[in-house]
């Protein structure tokens, strides 16, 4: 395992790649970037706008420390990705590696089959996984898609767009953005702040539809399901 340090210019995006090795990125009070891994290679991309750091071919982990607020893009095949601290705009793509993020300004998190978790995202948070679950804490806006995995967001300030095939969809809205939720057989549970009166458009072929909020015009909720239940409740 070797450690390499890099000076980081202003507004440089980090692009990290590892095939099967785990990737951990730590955003902390510092001005440079430190990378520790097996045969770490680095090169400057996009005329200095990006620093690409590549881990060796083995399964050894890659640990990168960078300044708080750094924009980071990570790609792995099976390696899990853990991002600790507060980041700028991030994108993480894996085939089967689990994705866990503490906090970011904007996020695009996608995996073919793994679970995805993010704590906080101030702006728009996109999450996409087929068989894994997509779980968010507090996000600005949510755009999520799964096949069999569930989608869960504890608090969404703005718009919510979620689609699943059979996974359940559960989200708590702050009542400030349109909500579009579609599923084939998954269960939908939406929470709205007490007193919010949504304009609703529900479509279900055989699932139960239940809305406890009075009809109004505060926000639009569109929900469609083939056989899953739809439930909207005040909190």
């Amino acid at each position: 395992m070797g450690v390499r340090q890099f000076e980081l210019g202003v507004a440089v995006t980090l692009r990290l790649q590892s095939r099967s090795g785990r990737v951990e990125v730590v955003a902390e009070p510092r001005e440079d970037v430190e990378a520790e891994g097996e045969q770490v290679e680095a090169l400057v991309d996009d005329g200095g706008a990006a620093l690409r750091i590549r881990n060796g071919h083995g399964s050894k982990p890659l640990l990168v420390r960078c300044p708080v607020g750094t924009d980071v893009a990570v790609g792995t095949q099976s390696g899990a990705v853990r991002m600790v601290g507060e980041f700028g705009a991030i994108s993480v793509t894996t085939m089967s590696g689990r994705i866990e993020v503490d906090a970011a300004d904007e996020a695009d998190l996608r995996s073919v089959s793994a679970n995805i978790t993010i704590g906080t995202c101030r702006g728009r948070c996109r999450m996409r996984t087929s068989n894994g679950t997509a779980t968010a804490g507090h996000v600005g806006a949510l755009s999520a898609g799964t096949v069999s995995g569930s989608i869960k967001a504890d608090r969404v300030d703005g718009a919510i767009k979620a689609r699943s095939v059979s996974g359940s969809i559960e989200a708590a809205s702050c009542g400030d953005g349109a909500i579009t939720v579609k599923t084939i057989s998954g269960k939908v549970h939406i929470e709205l702040p007490k007193g919010v009166e949504p304009h609703t458009r529900f479509k279900s072929f055989s699932g139960r539809v239940h809305c406890e909020c009075p009809e109004g015009s505060d926000l639009l909720i569109e929900a469609m399901t083939v056989s899953g239940a739809i439930e909207v409740v005040p909190t």
Binding site: Q77, S91, T93, M95, R110, V112, R128, R163, V226
Partner: protein, 177 residues
Amino acid sequence: MMAAATDADVVEGTVMFTDIVGFTEFTALRGDAEALALLSLQDRIVREELGPGARVVKDLGDGLMLWFEDPCAAIRTGLRLQERFEEESQAVEAPLWVRIGVHAGQQRRRGDDLLGHDVNVASRIMSLASSGEVLASEETVKRTDGGLAGVEFQQLGPVVMKGIPTPINLYRVERSG
């Protein structure tokens, strides 16, 4: 020793894969007749939107493999297809939820079929897209050479794919403005 492909077998172009998300579940719940109607709807929209220099290479059950001579046409068609799928999905109240992956490169002919590394890459890219989304490789974006007005490419960074030795830089394609 196996015979190498001749130059005549090699084509340059852009491959697109489409896939209906949740088709198996929809079929199980709504039956074969509605599932076939959904497939027919996808086929009709695709054939209406394909311009000259583009063709359906093959039917993949609940998806299609398409080929385009011009990468700009591939991107424009991908976006247009998603808009049409969304519109028709609303109109017929059926989940025509399609994900699309696009990659430009070199393909080898085998009869009407196309094979090769760049075909495999396009398929892998499709597997990372959400329903309603168009993803494209960096090579596709480069080949458009700024020839697409009103289209935005948002970089997603490196993607390390199984069976593909070199990471691919991936972009999400959207209408700008």
